[in-house]
Amino acid sequence: QMGGQNLRKEHLYKVLVIGDLGVGKTSIIRRYVHQTFSSNYRATIGVDFALKVLNWDSETVRLQLWDIAGQERFGNMTRVYYREAMGAFIVFDVTRPTTFEAVIKWKEDLDSKVMLANGQRIATVLLANKCDQGRELSNNGIKMDQFCKDHGFVGWFETSAKDNLNISDAANFLVKHIMATENDILKSVVPDTISPQMDSSRQMSCSGCFK
C-alpha cells in the first residue's frame, strides 16, 4: 500500500446476523450501529445491511453487518447472502425456547454454505437476546459453554438490544476471532506465492490483505 505512516491499515469483514424471526437481529444491529432501539422495526424481507467502523489499536476495522431475514422460507436465498462472510452471530430469544432449538439448524445451514479460504468454518458467536426480559441464563452458563463447544461456536453472550447489554462486547469478541483466523490463513499462504490467478469468486472480502 502506498502512503506514509499515518495511513492506517484497514480490515473489511463481512459478518452475518442470523436466527429465527423476531429474535431481535435488526434491533441488535440498530443498537450497535445507530445507538437506537425501537420495538417495531419492520420485518426484514431478504436482507438488510449496516456498516460499523471500529478503531482497532492502530488499525481500522470496517464491519459489514448483514441482517438476514429470519422466516424459514427465505432459507432458499441465504446462500447468496452468506457468500464471503468472515464471521457470524446466531441470535435467539431467551423468552422463546423454539428459537434456541433453531440455533442448531441455523448453524448447520451456515456451515454447509460458507467456509473460509482454508476450508475452516467461519467464527460464530451465539447471542442470547432479550435477556432484559427476566429469564436468566447465567445459572445455565456451564451448559451453554458446553453447547458452544459441542456445536462449534467460539463463544456466547447474553445480550439486550433494549438495554444495550453486551452487544459491543460480543462484536469485539467476534472481531478478535476473525482477526486470529485471518492471521492463520495468511500464515498458511507461503510467502512470495500469492497466486495471481486466484479465482475471483472465492476471493476474500478482506481488503486489508489483498489490496
Binding site: 423476531g22 420495538s39 419492520r42 424481507i45 431478504g46 436482507v47 438488510d48 445491511f49 431475514a69 436465498m77
Partner: protein
C-alpha cells in the same frame, strides 16, 4: 355505481380504455372498487360468498397467529390507521392475514404479505382486501410467498433485464458483487410498499392490477429497472458508490430518488419496455389494428368520470395525451396468446362468449388447484431428493400439459419452469 355492476360489459368493450385509465391513475375514491375488479377478487368473492366470514370466525393455527401478531405493529407504524394495537387497522390486518393461512394452510403466512395486506386495507374493506391478497398470491405472483420462492427466478430475470436495458448499471452491480436478490427481494415481494412514496405506490399498483396477471411480474420488473436507473443510471452516481456496501446503501435509499412526482415516474415506467424470455409476447397484427381503432383522446380518458356519474364535459379543447403510450402496454394481453401456441386454437377460443370463457376458466382453476396439490406433493418428494446432488436441475419436468390461452394456465407453467430455472441458477 350502477356502471360498476355492469363491469363485465365495460371490461370487454373498454378494456383498452381501462388500461389507459390505469396508466393515468385510478381516482382514489374508486380504488376500493377497481382493484378488486381488476384482479378478479370481486369475482372470487361472489363465487365464495361467506367464505371469508367463516374463516374469520374460526381460530387460526397458533404458530401462524404468533408470527402474524409479531408483525402487526410494525407495518407502517406511523400511519394513523395502524397506530394503536386494537385499532381497526391492526385488527383488520390480523384478520386478513390469519384468514389467508386458513385458506392456504400449506402455504401459511409469508412476512412479505404483511405490508401488501396493509396497503390493501388502507384502500378497501377487509373482505375485499383478503380476496385481493388471494389473487395476488395465487394469480399475480404465484409461488412468491410460498416456500418455493419463485422470487429467486425473478431476481435472475431482473439481472438479465438490467443487462439489456441499462448495461452500465448492470456492469457496476456485477463489478461490486451486488445481486438483485440483495436489494430487489424486498422491492418485489412487498410490491414496493416499503420503497416508494405513497402516491407513487398507488399509481404503480394501478398498473400492477391492470397488467400484472397476464404478464406476471412485468410491471414489477419495469419499476425495478426504473429504480435501479434512478440510483445508478448516471456515471457520477456510480462513482459515488465505490463498493458493494455503498451500492447497496444507495439502492436501499431509493425513495430519495423518487420524489412526489407520480406522473413522470409512471411515464418512465411505462416507457421502459421490458421483454424477458418468459414474458415476451409478440405483437400481432390484430393488436395493431385495435390500436388504430381507439376512440379519440378526449373520450379516451373519461371512463372513470362516467363511472363516478359525472357528465362528460363537452367543449373541452382536445389535449394531447401527456405521454406516449408504448405499444406493449396498449396491447390487450388477455387476448394474446403465448408464442408457442397452436394457431388453430385461437379461432375456436375467440368465438366463445366471455361468459363461457369465464366458466371455462373457473373450471380450469378448479382443475389447477387439484393439480397444484398433486404437484406440491410431488415437489415435497423432490425436495427430499434434491439433496442428492445428481438429481439437481432435473426436477419439475412434469408431464407436458395441453396449452390453452388461459392466462392463469400460462402463469402456472411459468412457475413450473421457473423453479427448475432457479434451481439451476443457484
Amino acid at each position: 355505481m350502477q356502471a360498476l355492476t355492469n363491469w363485465d360489459s365495460y371490461w370487454v368493450l373498454m378494456s383498452l380504455q381501462v388500461k389507459l385509465q390505469c396508466q393515468k391513475g385510478i381516482p382514489a375514491s374508486l380504488r376500493a372498487k377497481c382493484w378488486p375488479l381488476l384482479c378478479g377478487a370481486s369475482e372470487r368473492m361472489r363465487q365464495n360468498e361467506n367464505l371469508y366470514e367463516s374463516l374469520d370466525s374460526q381460530p387460526g393455527l397458533q404458530s401462524w397467529v404468533d408470527i402474524i401478531e409479531r408483525d402487526l405493529d410494525r407495518q407502517f407504524p406511523f400511519h394513523e390507521m395502524f397506530l394503536s394495537k386494537d385499532g381497526h387497522g391492526q385488527r383488520g390486518l390480523f384478520r386478513v392475514l390469519k384468514a389467508y393461512t386458513q385458506f392456504q394452510p400449506e402455504e401459511g403466512y409469508c412476512q412479505a404479505q404483511g405490508p401488501v395486506a396493509a396497503v390493501l386495507l388502507m384502500n378497501m374493506p377487509a373482505e375485499e382486501a383478503f380476496w385481493c391478497l388471494v389473487q395476488i398470491s395465487e394469480q399475480y405472483l404465484p409461488g412468491y410467498y410460498s416456500p418455493l420462492l419463485v422470487i429467486l427466478f425473478d431476481a435472475a430475470i431482473l439481472s438479465w433485464v438490467l443487462k439489456k436495458t441499462c448495461p452500465a448499471a448492470h456492469k457496476h452491480l456485477q463489478q461490486h458483487g451486488v445481486e438483485p436478490l440483495m436489494f430487489a427481494t424486498d422491492w418485489l415481494m412487498c410490491l414496493f410498499t416499503r420503497h416508494l412514496p405513497f402516491n407513487t405506490l398507488l399509481r404503480v399498483w394501478d398498473l400492477f392490477f391492470c397488467y400484472g396477471v397476464s404478464i406476471r411480474c412485468c410491471v414489477l420488473l419495469q419499476v425495478a429497472v426504473v429504480l435501479v436507473r434512478r440510483v445508478l443510471g448516471r456515471a457520477e452516481q456510480r462513482k459515488q458508490c465505490p463498493g458493494q456496501m455503498e451500492t447497496l446503501e444507495s439502492l436501499r435509499g431509493v425513495r430519495e430518488h423518487v420524489q412526489e412526482e407520480e406522473e413522470t415516474f409512471i411515464a418512465e415506467v411505462t416507457l421502459k419496455r421490458v421483454s424477458t424470455p418468459c414474458l415476451f409476447i409478440p405483437l400481432t397484427d390484430d393488436a395493431g389494428e385495435r390500436q388504430e381503432q381507439q376512440p379519440d383522446a378526449s373520450k379516451r380518458f373519461g371512463l372513470f368520470r362516467k363511472l363516478k356519474g359525472e357528465q362528460p364535459k363537452k367543449a373541452k379543447p382536445k389535449k394531447k395525451p401527456k405521454m406516449q403510450v408504448p405499444k406493449i402496454l396498449i396491447q390487450d394481453f388477455s387476448d394474446v396468446m403465448p408464442a408457442d401456441e397452436p394457431a388453430v386454437q385461437e379461432d375456436a377460443e375467440e368465438k366463445l362468449s366471455s361468459r363461457e370463457r369465464r366458466r371455462r376458466r373457473r373450471e380450469q382453476e378448479r382443475k389447477e388447484k387439484e393439480e397444484e396439490k398433486l404437484r406440491k406433493k410431488k415437489e415435497k418428494e423432490q425436495e427430499r431428493e434434491r439433496r442428492k446432488p445428481q438429481t439437481r436441475g432435473k426436477s419439475f419436468q412434469g408431464p407436458k400439459e395441453k396449452v390453452t390461452d388461459d392466462p392463469a394456465k400460462t402463469v402456472s407453467q411459468i412457475t413450473r419452469n421457473s423453479v427448475s430455472y432457479a434451481e439451476s441458477y443457484f
